[in-house]
Symmetry: C2
Subunit: 379 residues, 2 copies
């Protein structure tokens, strides 16, 4: 029981609250990440003995891509994070299981990353590691998880291949579950690959709506509950509690990327806006200036978090998705059509900005925010 005590626990209730204060110490994780990335990169040569090769540009991107000849193979594993703890707390408060939407969140974490490289997701594997066999004894909760998982697979047109349901007493906390999804897909035809070599000045930035916080920023959101007199039952909009607003399921974007391909709209690059918020718009390794002129509306729950955490716009947009869950970079001439196709899939979309020649920078003009290359050290 040596979980770190977040410093914020002792801070006054009106003090600003940052993501790091909510208990995530990137300085402790990052050295391992760097070592792992270096070791991982050194294994790429093994593919040659099978007659294949990695697509080097996918190293550090959201999914790993291998050239297997007739098409590219893409794969990924993604963790839900701590959102399930909100579901647990809400079920404790009113008895309703929330794992249907939690299942969608988990699949979204994997699928929305996989599609950034241009892949069509084909197979999802479930990883459900419970704190003990008894987790599965709550039949209503377990059935919600199963039904939600299947529904998300249906939405994405993927086959649910199987998975693991271990009972890990002593590793996973009693009463909790560690959820993750692995996803495998293919990039076919090969020209769908969108690893960034097509991105350039003149491309438009099309932002796709989020449904709320999605599954990133939950450490902060959970920490904030301590400041709310009514906790998760605090209303963020009439009739909508903070807890249920947080639990709005992450939008699945693969129907949009598939529809774009079918409609002949080429995607030059894509970014899944997760941790690090809008800094993800700087993900491409090239030197371009990204100028955003239009902001999507901010979901009430995100505005609420921003206000409660006393974040200015710069910190809020650097941490949360603020209404934009996914970014597509497409030829300017196709931008309107791109947004229309997304709306046809039921996902609100905005032609929100453009890519320009210039130093690596993101300008969010309506907010007066400007970030340079140093804002995002993900790779």
């Amino acid at each position: 029981m040596t979980t770190p005590s977040p410093p914020a626990a002792d801070s006054p209730p009106d003090a600003p609250l940052s993501y790091e204060q909510a208990g995530v110490r990137y300085d402790q994780i990052d050295p391992l990440k760097v070592a792992a990335q270096r070791a991982a990169a050194a294994t790429a040569g093994h593919l040659a003995r099978h007659g294949f090769a990695e697509v080097a540009a996918s190293r550090g991107e959201s999914a790993y891509v291998v050239d297997v000849g007739p098409f590219y193979l893409a794969s990924i594993v993604e963790c839900l994070g701590s959102k399930a703890m909100v579901a647990d707390e809400m079920q404790r408060l009113d008895g309703r299981p929330r794992y249907g939407t939690i299942a969608q969140d988990t699949i979204a974490m994997a699928v929305n990353d996989l599609i950034t490289v241009g892949a069509t997701p084909l197979v999802v594997q479930a990883y459900w590691a419970a704190g003990g066999s008894d987790w599965f004894a709550d039949a209503a909760r377990a059935q919600a998880l199963v039904a939600g998982w299947k529904a998300a697979c249906d939405t994405c047109g993927v086959a649910w291949g199987g998975g693991e349901t271990p009972a890990l007493a002593g590793i996973v906390e009693g009463g909790r579950i560690d959820l993750a999804a692995a996803c495998t897909g293919i990039v076919s035809p090969r020209e769908r690959l969108s690893l960034g070599d097509k991105l350039g000045p003149g491309d438009a930035i099309v932002l796709l709506a989020s449904s709320g916080i999605h599954a990133n920023g939950l450490s902060l959101a959970r920490k904030l509950v301590e400041r709310l007199p009514d906790g998760y039952l605090t209303e963020v909009a009439p009739g909508l509690t903070y807890g249920d607003a947080l639990l709005a399921p992450t939008v699945l974007y693969s129907p949009v990327t598939e529809a774009l391909w079918a409609a002949g709209v080429p995607v030059h690059y894509a970014a899944n806006i997760t941790g690090h918020g809008w800094r993800k718009l700087l993900r491409h390794p090239g030197a371009f200036t990204y100028r955003v002129h239009t902001l999507p509306p901010v979901p009430p729950v995100l505005r609420f978090i921003q206000q409660q955490a006393r974040q200015d716009d710069e910190e809020a947009y650097a941490t949360l998705n603020m209404g934009a869950g996914f970014a597509l970079f497409v030829p300017a001439a196709q931008a309107g059509r791109c947004a229309e196709v997304a709306r046809g899939c039921g996902v609100a979309a905005w032609v929100a900005g453009r890519v320009e020649a210039g130093p690596k920078r993101l300008l969010i003009e309506p907010l007066g925010v400007s970030w340079g290359d140093d804002a995002l050290q993900l790779r």
Copy 2:
């Protein structure tokens, strides 16, 4: 903190100890598994919209297989289970990090399953979910995990594609880590597919040596420690502690299956001997009699567990691998060559039995053990 109390905690120290008594309640997990398998099977049709189809015989097998035209795609996610808790305890006792071998165990769980369908593993993704950022602050332990993970990828000739290193305080226990691996591979050429339609009377059973307990049966093995006066430091052989014997890394069998293909030895079917011990030899859905005439030597740690848990041979072989980590079913004429190829890869191997026409049964002749179809309800 609602982990179930294993009934064995109150049993006398000389009473037999079963796997269920060690805290794993399959009766609680199985209804969910059945519901999940049913829902998963209903998603297979989605592949048609991409022009592909699942290989139905892979449902319920160790890896999921999709026919993508020029070859088959296979994918899987596998959890390590509780073996890392033994590593933690041994490090607490003598300060030496054991996560190098734990990494190999985790990859083996995925790779050894994936190869049963005839796949060549291509990409491994790491899932390392820690109980808090501080897990990664033990640099020696973290570096051992990275180095061991890379070494196992090197042995298997797979590319380490990337992965997730979330800090999940509140979900994963403080000081612990939940380890899993996702693996994607291809079956190429297509005739390498070994989902069982080739298995038949006359085939030989070739058993490949295990290195010890591998990563299944650890709940039982950890439970036994409570009965040992010297705990994990009890010697199971001169100079070899129980703890270190348990931590012998799982053998990686993909070099053998790749070498068999290169040598022209066809594999009709394969079974990874994990949970359920030798009952896994009954995995194939067909009605055959499996007659085993030769037993591999039993690793000291498994004999020790059998003795300490007061298990008869029938229960021991039904629970643990007892020296056989993997089974290959090959044409009788190729059996000797198959074993030679395995030995050439540094893996001891025995032509241990044969497949016969007859009711579904496993006869372990040297032990006088006979199991019928009801012994294994995995599907």
